[in-house]
């Protein structure tokens, strides 16, 4: 069982569908092909029913009329076969392992790890399965959590293990596993009022040291930059199953906007599974462009790359509403960006004593 409830037969059947499309075409004397949604910001649209951003209607055809595309098709077949073998054998592998295993696939081998990652995503999109169904694990680091919440995780022996993320963990917190679906992780109990997702490790540790989780009755989750799928998924589950508000505390720069968007609206690369990963009610707490001025934070000038990123965001459908357009334009006007840790200008306790309480009051007031 997985998030979308596919059985292993269904997963294999879906993969065979890809091979069948190719075989049918060849039998008709046509070049084999695979049809995929276009995976750019031009082809994501808000899904009213799901409340998240999903791929639109644009499709691209990958057919065997050029060498590059033909190789991709061959790789897709090799990957399908490999997944089928893993499902049958009850094994799993990391994406990186699959990349190395492809060394033995002759003309179907991958040129880079990025290629194999992208192809795994392609297969998810076409089959509507998730990579957990494919027994493929990411390399990426899951998040860590500290706060008075309790999970049950199934350990390697297959036994359920109860963990309280405040009392049963050290300073580094509870490490989120790559699979956070119900067959692996159960959300048992909590005694917090909200969840706060934090971009940088430095700020996470600051809040832990200052006892912010206890004082403010919240669970802290460290995103480690652009959050991994499992991080977004567990945030989503806590939000849905426990009905807890999610506040996102990031740096004040163009890249943080994208992190927020991937948590709240869905990421472009994973728009096919946005409904499993995105938390539409998540609130962007800071650092806001306006904070740079009102708190007089030490700020850096925007680089040309930053400006490029902001301008790209202006035409991103996820940032189309007036509030985001204002936010982005304000940062462009200021020409500045600030880190979370620039709050330390006013002392180590400023963030927990002044900034966050003020921000929380503002949000609760709305």
């Amino acid at each position: 069982m997985s998030a979308n409830g596919f059985t292993k037969e269904e997963v294999i059947g879906a993969l065979h569908g890809i091979a069948a499309e190719m075989h049918d075409r060849m039998a008709k004397g046509e070049p084999p092909r695979m049809t995929l949604p276009v995976r750019t910001k031009q082809n994501i649209a808000f899904d009213n029913k799901l409340g998240v951003y999903k791929y639109g209607k644009k499709r691209s055809t990958r057919d065997a009329t050029s060498l590059g595309s033909a190789r991709q098709l061959l790789r897709a077949l090799h990957v399908s076969e490999f997944i089928e073998e893993m499902i049958e054998a009850g094994k799993s592998s990391t994406l990186r392992e699959m990349y190395y295993i492809s060394e033995g696939w002759g003309h179907g081998k991958f040129g880079s790890q990025n290629e194999s990652n992208n192809l795994a995503e392609d297969l998810e999109i076409v089959t509507k399965c998730m990579r957990e169904d494919f027994k493929l694990r990411p390399e990426e680091d899951g998040a860590r959590i500290i706060g008075n919440i309790t999970f049950e995780e199934r350990n390697r022996k297959g036994e359920w293990m109860r963990i309280n993320c405040r009392d049963d963990v050290g300073d580094s917190g509870y490490g989120v596993p790559y699979n956070v679906e119900s067959e692996k992780l159960k959300l048992v109990d909590h005694d917090v009022d909200f969840i706060m997702a934090i971009e940088t490790g430095g700020m996470f540790d600051r809040l832990v040291e200052n006892g912010f989780d206890d004082d403010s009755r919240c669970a802290l989750i460290h995103l480690k930059g652009q959050p991994a799928r499992s991080t977004r998924r567990i945030i989503k589950r806590m939000n849905e199953e426990w009905n807890l508000p999610v506040l996102v505390f990031l740096d004040g720069d163009p890249w943080s906007y994208r992190i927020y968007a991937s948590i709240a609206y869905g990421a472009i690369k994973t728009a096919h599974i946005s409904e499993y990963l995105a938390t539409p009610s998540a609130i962007y707490l800071g650092i806001r462009a306006a904070d740079i001025m009102s708190y007089d934070l030490p700020a850096d000038d925007l680089s040309s790359k930053d400006i490029q990123a902001l301008k790209a965001e202006l035409s991103d459908p996820r940032f189309a509403d007036a509030e985001w357009q204002n936010e982005i334009n304000l940062m462009l006007e200021l020409g500045k960006k600030a880190e979370q840790q620039s709050l330390a200008k006013y002392g180590l306790d400023f963030v927990t004593d002044t900034y966050l309480p003020e921000k929380l009051a503002e949000i609760m007031g709305r």
Binding site: H16, A19, M22, H23, M26, P31, L74, H107, G108
Partner: protein, 700 residues
Amino acid sequence: MVDAEKIASKQKQISISEFFEKNKHFLGFDTLQRAVITAVKESVDNSLDACEETRILPEIKVEINRLGNDRLELICQDNGPGIPRDSVENVFGKFLLGSRFHAIRQTRGQQGIGITGVVMYSQLTTGSKTSVVSKVASDSSAVYVDLGLDTRKNRATKSNERRDVWFENGQEVRHGLKIRTVMRAKYQRGRQSVHQYLRMTSIVNPHASIKLIVKDKEGEIIDQGHWVRTTDRLPRVVEEIKPHPHGIQLGQLQRMLKEADERKLTSFLRHNFSGVSVRAAKEILQAAGLEEGRTPVRVKADEAQAMVEAFQGVKLLAPPTDCLSPIEEMLIKKGLSKAIDSRFASTVTRKPTVSLGNPFQIEVGLVFGGDLQADGPIEVLRFANRVPLMYQQGGCLLTKGLESVDWKRYGLDHPGGRGLPKGPAAVLIHLASTNVQFTSEAKEAVADNEEVFEEIRKAMLEVGRGLRNHLKKSSQRKKAQEKFDLINIILPEISKKTSELLEREEPDLAPVITKIMNAVFLEDEIIWDKETKNTICSITIYNYTARARAYTILAKWPEADGVCIVENPRGGRKETTGLWNWRLDTLDPGQSAEIRFAVSGLSKGDWNESDVFFRGNGEIIGATRIDEKLLDEMRKMDALAAAEAEHAVPKTESIEHLVERTPYPVNEGNDEILIDGKDPVGGDSETASIDLWAYEEGDE
């Protein structure tokens, strides 16, 4: 009196030393780094010239040993004819020993003051003698002698002279020369180094074997090189020619008049100059206002001046050009590929031309790809009469001719269209001339000359077109190769995998392949057959379209004396020189056909890339549609050459003359083309391209 003599001799000695000191920049000894290059150069040039004259394949060895305190020991050895005992002093000791002024021909040793300069430099900077070992084949033993210079008497001083058998590595040396000298100099590497000089020398002297070994004070090897011989063909013996009036200056004419044996000016002109007929001699004298019977020795300066002016006004025959010794395309290719690892070489030897009465000839070679550096300006290898030019590159006419071409059009990066182009390429430029004009006495940069410049430019355009073709061909070939990989490797694997996964029958791929390719492809390959020593050209045409095709295929091959097609099972016919023609009447869908022919008379590597053209409907990927208009031009050129051979014209007459006399040639080949009515010529003949081989739609 004794004191006075002493002072006088001292003064003279000082003055010669001073002369050397003052002029060392153009003698090539101005810096310690350059001194050793010049010394090697003088020695190697002499060796190559001597070997060429006596038809010996040169084996040259250069050894340099660092002695510390900026002193180097230089040992140069060759297998040349050696120098007879009695001439040793003259060759090594006579300062400014001039060659005969009247004889004009292309030699290397026009530079500097020769090996004497080395002896003098060594003596002046270290006080040491130069040791010489010389063995002449007819003598039973070699001469060993140490040489110094008596700067007062301008001649060599000999010491320690003896005769002995000369052994090298346990073998008796039959003939050769070895010199050993110690001088103040510095050995360095880089663009201006002994290594580079010898490398360049080996490129333009593919018949020579050259070795270099450089050791430091401890005897450790710090630099070395070995450039092997790539041809056993010695450069052709060059003819001496008399000067042509168009290139004569007043001083030279006066000297010739003074030394003349003739009693009459008419015979003086006819005997001492090339290109002067009886009629021309009379016209010259008439124009100069001189009587025909005047005695040459008595002609006054103003009268000589009038003669010089008259020379320019009278129509004269061009000087003969067989006094030049070009390296020739094939050998340039060999020389370049020996020194530089590259993928592609394009070479051009232009026809000899005349500027101001001096015959000259331009040769250019371009290599591309391989190990050559892709960023930064291309490497320029300049040569005058087979002598490398290593300094003053920017101010040299040869460089200017190269830079005048818009290289962007030919596939090299050329920012702003100025200066040297950039890219993984090297260009060799060789100027062969009886009289190379340099910008200065340093003889490192060729002086401006419009005719020479134009010839260089034309040669550059030719090799440029070769490069553009090659690049176009490689990209076409790459694309075609990808398609072949796709249908031959990837597609069958896709079919196999899907069938395995689904447990279904494998589909028939033939219609899929036609859909994917939808074109006619041509692959060609040149193979060297070790056993037969033949070069085999294999051309395969694949029809991956849905209907039958018919084509005429034409392939370029290096036709020349002694190079011929020995196997050609498909027959065909000769289209024109260096171009063969085959008809493929039907090529059904999914079918392929091979044309294979073997060429004898070439060495391995002489022919690496073929050019394949076609006539017929529809494109062929991997071949170029032939430009009929230019093919006609080629045929006319062929006919001219044939007519020239038939008439067996006397050597002194120029080709221009011949063109006037020969009736316009009618080529039978033309009719054949007209009969070949299936080939749609019309569309193409509109577009005239300058270059047959570079023809391409939209090409200028």
